[in-house]
Symmetry: none
Subunit: 199 residues, 4 copies
């Protein structure tokens, strides 16, 4: 009996992950409204009925996915922040490099969050979480910029605006890279991205 239970739990976890991964692919390509549950289930190699064992609804699945990705990103930002060695500029560079690397490794996460952000059809709770992430992101960068300005490494100016500008640029790069078929944008290095902020 306990063997059976443990087995079941393992299966549950695996299937959940399986479905989430499939959902990520489909939502990334289509967005919430245009994605179909049958397509997600097919991509996961399960019946569409099964998706409803694990997730209440399409929206809930989307929410779970976005939440998962937001947590991952937030965790990453925190970790990057904890590596405190080096000058502020070096830390800023590490942070940007980490972001550029993340978007290259998980372009689908970028797309899903973009869809979540850009469609009013996105449920409010999801957008709310996204806003929180954006704020955290901005705060962290702002903090680094302030420190960099004190150290004379970063150009003068409203740190929040500079942070927002930097964040926007990175987001834009993420989009261009993900739709890289269009322009053959090679991933720029952190130095280029940060060049505009150098004192």
């Amino acid at each position: 009996m306990p063997r059976r239970q443990a087995e079941n739990e393992r299966i549950r976890d695996e299937q959940r992950q399986n479905i989430l991964r499939a959902a990520e692919k489909v939502f990334a390509r289509k967005g919430l409204a245009a994605a179909k549950m049958t397509e997600i289930a097919a991509a996961a190699g399960v019946s569409y009925g099964l998706a409803y064992h694990y997730f209440e609804s399409k929206e809930e699945l989307f929410a779970a996915l976005v939440e998962h990705e937001i947590r991952g990103t937030m965790r990453g930002i925190q970790e990057a922040l904890e590596e405190r060695h080096g000058t502020p500029w070096e830390r800023l560079t590490r942070m940007v490099a980490w972001m550029l690397q993340g978007m290259q490794e998980q372009p689908e996460a970028v797309l899903v969050t973009l869809h979540a952000l850009t469609s009013e059809a996105t449920p409010p709770e999801i957008r709310q979480r996204f806003y929180e992430l954006a704020h955290l992101n901005n705060e962290v960068i702002t903090q680094l910029i302030i420190e960099g300005q004190k150290a004379g490494e970063v150009v003068q100016g409203d740190p929040e605006q500079l942070a927002a500008f930097l964040g926007s640029s990175i987001q834009g790069i993420a989009i261009s890279m993900t739709y890289g078929g269009v322009l053959s944008l090679k991933i720029p290095d952190a130095a280029l991205v940060l060049r505009g902020l150098k004192a």
Copy 2:
């Protein structure tokens, strides 16, 4: 007596514009899949039947809208390019300023094209047109960068990559500004945006 032909043509033109404007609002907020024809018609103050009098289908309406916006943007780029006075850097600055101004004045056009770009549900012809625009845009900027490099005003490096980087940044800014509720990004001036490319 039938209505005068000129009168009819005027009505047709006006309603078409009317519906296109309404469609822009709705598609900008929701994207193609999540937008409803009834909503668009209601926003235009007409019956949904009339929308079909002027456009074959929702997709065709979307395509007409994207086409319209792409043409507008392309025309703008060409015009900006024709003002040839000043150094390359000055011209680059004018171009970027014009883009920043455009996205501020017509944020919905930005959103519509973004939706068109990011959803695979977008009909291929439409995406194709978007790619063409992106290429034109990139070529023009590339050209200015090359001239700037010759004049020693722009940092050295692959001009196409620099252009793509600049374009991406601007696109990212456009998105952030349009979803300005999130971060209070004030529109950065062209000088800041271009700072990273200064020799």
Copy 3:
């Protein structure tokens, strides 16, 4: 004024005929349900709005058409019946020949009445009229058959059944001929059609 009035009346009559002729073509090819008013109007070379000046509705137009054709056929049957010279067999032959000729000259009338008969979507009044025609037709033939049997020219048997059989055959021939592309049925002569009834 009177000149103007007469002129108007002439136009009215001509347009009515014009629209009826166009409707015949379209209804013949499509049937009531699948025919579109815009198509009929286009075939008549008028605006679709004009069709509603002359006919209350699509159904009414269809009814008027069927009525027109039924009247024509009935008149024809009566006239054929009034030519009383010759033996019953000769008169039967003349009647059948007249029918065969009619279906050859106005295949569309055959199709319209067939559509009227075969779709339950046909308004009841129209079907009623059609039944009346069928009965008249049957009565007339029955009468001729009775006379023919008395004269020893027609095979023995229930005259109504024989008449129905003859009528059915002719109807079948009409259909085959009209869809003549399929089988290249040449119009059979009255002698062949009647051969089965010969004493």
Copy 4:
């Protein structure tokens, strides 16, 4: 545990048949254009959604039905042809008797094919199949007539034309019988139908 595959297959087969039978009734009475999917689904005792689970569209359902009926008829003709005992006249009589019986037992099949034939709204592929059936039918009868003529049992004349004439008559009878409310045509026996071809 998922439902056993065999069970599912059985359900699928039964429902498909169920819906086809219901569709036959409705299409027979109304034709393709006037028939509504909700009506067909209701007649089958299922939701309209389910009809789309089994058939892509109304047209596809109609096509499947016509195809089914055409196959049945063709098979019947082939089988009737294989009973080779008796003189040509006897075999012709058997064939006609079989046709008369068929139309009496399955009047709806007659109506469906008639609708398929008479409306230009019918998809071309479907009409094509119908033409093939008509040709097969005609060939078979033609062959029997040729043999009958050789045996001196059938009247002289172009066998194809005689066959077409016979086929048309039978089709006409089918229509009259199916719309039997109009004329009370009792089903004629094969002898009467063939009397016109007797040598």
